[in-house]
């Protein structure tokens, strides 16, 4: 691939980075990244990955933009309320960087469609807001041998880790979804909007590092931060031999939907 004059200019701040250079930028431009959930985490991730020139961005979301999303889901604007999120995001990406090819999947991921959706991508970014989807994404990526970035946020806290085949997966750390009765109701939770941006952009950075092939990915480490104390920490985790999906004797060999609890509040 030969970069045009305009591309050399657009990506010049990447290209002058020794660890990226023209080759790294070309890898980014050949990259195919799937963002599942175009909400709090997926929105900032999509903006930065589009700006970075990722060749193909797949967007998966079955929701429409709600007024309460706009506090943190920065790819969606006020006039987008009521519009399917994937189309709202697609419009912004086209304005940021017309080089990026966007593939929209205006649906949720389930056990019966996720393998087909993720198969053509190099990397999957989990930007979902529920545990059923998070565990499904993990299992699908482990079974299909796809690298992915896990991200979770709550109140003032965030966590992220990167999976690549052969290393610790989300289930190595969190064996199974928490029991339904154990979690506070939606109205008790909440999230500081900027936290979503902090975490989503960390995930985007992991994607770019993966595509370029430089640096140390957040594998076998869970990064945890609390924005109230502005305290960051990485906890070493390792592949769990008893992991139900990637362990020595896996009990999960096909994809199943975890029970999807119902939320009575608008997303």
């Amino acid at each position: 691939m030969d970069l045009t004059e305009e591309q050399l200019e657009r990506y010049s701040r990447h290209i002058i980075l020794q660890d990226v250079s023209v080759e790294g930028q070309e890898k980014i431009m050949n990259g195919k990244v799937l963002i599942i959930g175009t909400g709090g985490l997926g929105a900032p991730a999509a903006l930065y990955l589009a700006a970075a020139g990722v060749g193909t961005l797949g967007l998966v979301d079955g929701d429409v933009v709600d007024l309460s999303n706009l506090q943190r889901q920065v790819i969606h604007f006020t006039p987008d309320v009521g519009k399917p999120k994937v189309f709202s995001a697609q419009e912004k990406i086209a304005q940021i960087n017309p080089d990026v090819k966007v593939i929209t999947h205006n649906k949720r991921v389930f056990a019966d469609n996720i393998a087909d959706i993720i198969k053509d991508y190099d990397f999957v970014l989990d930007g979902t807001d529920n545990f059923a989807a998070k565990f499904l994404i993990n299992d699908a990526c482990v079974l299909e041998k796809k690298p992915f970035s896990h991200g979770g946020i709550l109140r003032f806290d965030g966590q992220t880790m990167t999976y690549v085949p052969g290393e610790a997966c989300y289930r190595c750390v969190f064996n199974s979804p928490p029991p339904k009765g154990a979690v506070p109701t939606c109205s008790q939770a909440g999230v500081l909007g900027a936290i979503a941006g902090m975490l989503g952009t960390m995930q985007a950075a992991e994607v770019l590092k993966y595509l370029v092939g430089k640096g140390d990915l957040l594998t076998n480490r869970l990064l945890i931060f609390n924005a109230l104390r502005m305290d960051f920490r990485t906890v070493k985790v390792k592949k769990n031999p008893d992991c139900p999906v990637c362990g020595n004797n896996p009990t999960i060999t096909t994809l199943v939907d975890e029970e999807q609890p119902v939320c009575d509040l608008k997303r």
């Binding site: 959930g37 806290d157 190595c172 750390v173």
Partner: protein, 71 residues
């Protein structure tokens, strides 16, 4: 004894404590919402009662985090 809890040194009056007791002392109000790692190994929930920690151990409580909302 001194134990590293979530990366920070913490002193306890007793010489040994069960993981379940540490969860209570550290005010983890919903043990179902954490994954517990002791000296780099993850514990099964059913082992919280029978596993004790001693001086010098490192224990991490890793919280489940969903998206902007919990479920």
């Amino acid at each position: 004894m001194n134990v590293k809890v979530n990366g920070k040194d913490q002193a306890f009056d007793k010489e040994a404590l069960f993981v379940k007791e540490v969860l209570t002392i550290c005010e983890v109000s919903q043990p179902d919402m954490v994954s517990v790692q002791l000296n780099g190994e993850f514990l099964q929930k059913e082992d919280y009662d029978g596993t004790s920690i001693k001086d010098g151990d490192e224990i991490d409580f890793l919280y489940f985090m969903g998206g902007g909302i919990l479920y």
